[in-house]
């Protein structure tokens, strides 16, 4: 299978998250991911985009995000690129649940979810852009 790529450009607005999820669903379908894996990837990409809006752009709606998907023979790779403040999901561990209850907020758990939902999370910066790259592998048949 020749890798196929897709790209979606969106502003840093939470109103665009549903649109991102629809696109990820389509890409997952094209990649042949089972429904449960497709749902997991939709959620992981949603969490990355929501974190980008909140942390990289500080809630500003005038930023840009590029969501790119590459359908490979054994996996689907989705990256979220932005020009906001760099943040690495893997350096922000989730606090213990007891602290979360006491503080009545769930910050940090989107990142925790991302790592549970996909097979690989990578972070990289290049020429002023930051990118979170998620890989969801296709389960082997037989």
């Amino acid at each position: 299978m020749t890798p196929r790529a897709h790209r979606l450009r969106i502003p840093s607005r939470t109103s665009c998250l549903a649109r991102v999820r629809r696109h990820v669903a389509g890409w997952a379908d094209e990649a042949g991911l089972p429904a449960a894996d497709a749902f997991a990837l939709q959620l992981a990409v949603d969490e990355v985009c929501a974190n980008t809006i909140e942390h990289a752009y500080g809630g500003r709606a005038d930023g840009r995000m590029e969501v790119e998907a590459t359908v490979k023979p054994d996996c689907l790779v989705v990256s979220v690129r932005h020009q906001g403040k760099p943040y690495d999901p893997k350096t922000s561990p989730a606090p213990p649940l007891a602290h979360v209850v006491a503080e009545r907020r769930l910050h940090g758990y989107g990142l925790h979810l991302i790592q549970r939902l996909v097979d690989e999370v990578r972070f990289r910066t290049h020429n002023g852009s930051s990118e979170v790259v998620l890989t969801k592998r296709r389960a082997k048949r037989g």
Binding site: T14, A18, L97, L106
Partner: protein, 136 residues
């Protein structure tokens, strides 16, 4: 346009001993964009003095951590008010998201609305012995 909504109903306490239970039917997708609507709905319940709440979720198609954060934010205020927030009839894939973050340790999550109502008679806030839903 929002793809999420909340509607309210009231059900009598099946044990006949307590105040009516407010049932919130969630529809659509609960994410970082729509979490504010859910937050406003729960705040409205508290403002009106309702602390016996059931979130009824068969029509909830999606939840992200932003939505789960709203549940978390209101748990203690509701319990401090003498009530509880119980969760019923989630779709399996939505339940899995709650489960990934350990929510069954904190909330009564049951398979039907009636089971949630019955839990108000059994215990206001004791998830430890609750029949936790575990859809396959």
């Amino acid at each position: 346009m929002s793809n999420f909504s909340v509607t309210f109903r009231h059900r009598d306490d099946p044990a006949g001993a307590g105040a009516p239970v407010c049932v919130l039917d969630l529809h659509g997708e609960l994410d970082a964009h729509t979490a504010g609507e859910f937050e406003a709905a729960l705040q409205k319940c508290l403002d009106e003095g309702h602390t016996r709440l059931v979130v009824h979720g068969p029509a909830l198609d999606y939840v992200s951590s932003a939505g789960l954060g709203v549940f978390m934010a209101f748990l203690e205020p509701i319990r401090q008010g003498g009530g509880d927030l119980k969760i019923a009839a989630l779709q399996p894939r939505v339940f899995n998201v709650f489960d990934l973050l350990g929510f069954p340790m904190l909330f009564d999550i049951v398979e039907t609305e009636d089971a949630a109502l019955a839990r108000f008679g059994a215990s206001e806030q004791a998830p430890d012995d609750a029949p936790v839903a575990s859809p396959s």
